[in-house]
């Protein structure tokens, strides 16, 4: 059975949603406290949404120094799939595992609404079960979700097929409508929308399943 580590920082608040989502898809979820120094035995890692370390200073700025991040960086370096959702995305950018940064939304509005995202690359761990151009309804829930990067980084992202998802109607001022990006290898992915909250048509959308099913199609990294 695929074992998924769900990282819990002080202030995380989507860890149960993430764990329930992956268990719904037949995987085994295991919480990993932020002070852990070892992620042995895990096949995939999710950094969930919330307010790690209270979002003090900047979202993700302090979480980056949690002991577990070093183990996650090593796991990612040997090809292990790592997914950051919302605050988890912010943590991955602050930690330098993903390019760019997340800024306050255009208009300084907290946004909590369904959004339509378009799959723009299928070479990432998150979108490998999708097709390019596929539209998915996934909710967002954030204040600092405007993706920002330098011209040079944007060119690298586009050339390297690292832009994974784009908003159809940009809600937050993200550069180039970017909703999610991957690292160059495609095994580390971050996105602001919450796929774990789109697991059933009863809550408005089951499109998150397509993303997480792809993510759980794990290629187990060598130890």
């Amino acid at each position: 059975m695929t074992r998924v580590g769900v990282v819990v920082f002080p202030g995380s608040n989507c860890e149960y949603d993430a764990a329930a989502a992956v268990e719904d898809l037949g995987a085994d979820a295991q919480f990993v406290w932020h002070s852990a120094t070892d992620v042995a035995g895990l096949d995939a890692i999710i950094l969930p949404g919330g307010f790690a370390h209270g979002d003090y200073l900047r979202p993700g700025a302090l979480a980056r120094f949690s002991p577990v991040m070093e183990a996650i960086a090593a796991f990612a370096a040997r090809g292990g799939p790592v997914l950051g959702v919302c605050n988890g995305f912010q943590v991955l950018t602050e930690a330098g595992l993903l390019p760019g940064a997340l800024q306050k939304n255009r208009g300084l509005t907290f946004l909590c609404e369904p959004t339509t995202v378009v799959v723009t690359s299928t070479r990432s761990a998150l979108t490998r079960a999708c097709h390019v151009g596929q539209e998915l309804s996934i909710p967002i829930n954030h204040f600092s979700g405007a993706y920002t990067c330098s011209d040079e980084t944007l060119a690298q992202l586009v050339d390297g097929d690292q832009v994974v998802l784009r908003y159809r109607n940009n809600p937050n001022g993200s550069r180039d409508d970017i909703a999610g990006v991957s690292n160059a290898e495609g095994n580390v992915v971050g996105l602001m929308p919450h796929p774990e909250r789109a697991m059933s048509s009863l809550v408005g959308s089951a499109d998150g399943r397509t993303l997480l099913e792809g993510f759980l199609r794990v290629d187990v990294p060598a130890p």
């Binding site: 200073l57 120094f65 760019g100 940064a101 800024q103 306050k104 255009r106 300084l108 920002t148 330098s150």
Partner: protein, 85 residues
Amino acid sequence: MSTVYPVVVEVTLREGIADPEGATIERALPALGFTGVHRLRAGRSFRFEVEADDEEAALDVATSLAERLLSNPVIERASVRLGGP
């Protein structure tokens, strides 16, 4: 013998990076009667003390702290100076 040096770090968004907070403040100004105020940029400052052998060593520590933690170099710029409270 080490001395305690007070430090001020100011963090602002880099030129060219959108500053929604500064823009919102600037838009509110005419309603308060402030006209002719432009290019308002929001930022934040940090004040702390560094124990070091000399000014140069204190600045080195403060600069490293400003670049590694207090600012995100992707979007922000930090200025560091020794100074009083």
